[in-house]
Symmetry: C2
Subunit: 97 residues, 2 copies
């Protein structure tokens, strides 16, 4: 990872910091709404079983999310959102076990 690029990322994390602290307006929502999860899964065209495996949860857990019975935890939301934003790269990084 080149240093210049890394510096940019670091800057973004700093900005994220300020957003959380309320010193800056967030550009958009940071997390997936549980209700949008199904749409995201459809977007990458995976069945519940495969998507669940991809993101490392039990099938039943994914179902709980899609049916609104449970709320995904933080990392799950971040991961799903990341998949939504850049499916190619993120899914690749998830898969290559």
């Amino acid at each position: 990872m080149k240093d210049s690029l890394f510096a940019e990322l670091l800057e973004s994390v700093e900005q994220m910091d300020e957003i959380v602290k309320g010193e800056r307006e967030p550009a958009k929502e940071r997390f997936v709404a549980a209700s949008r999860l199904k749409l995201i899964r459809k977007k990458v065209n995976l069945s519940q079983p495969k998507f669940a495996m991809l993101i490392g949860v039990e099938l039943s857990t994914l179902r709980n999310w899609e049916q609104g019975r449970r709320e995904p935890t933080g990392p799950a939301k971040v991961l799903i959102k990341a998949i939504e934003r850049d499916p190619e790269n993120v899914i690749k990084a998830c898969i290559s076990s």
Copy 2:
């Protein structure tokens, strides 16, 4: 997302399926060992507070992981592993709120 590339990804997910079912040998470990988490965080050069924010957990939760008091849940492991494998793209996808 181009269809050809997507087809490749889908194939990979199918393979992942077979791995989980024991029909195929996994290339490597699928998940992060909790003990490796700190090394991964150092690799991307982020403090505990910033890394916790990045992956969407409370600082105390990340600390529990690094100190071996708790085990990250599935999506957290996948996300961390993805960050390890492709920090640039995955962190970018996580950040862009």
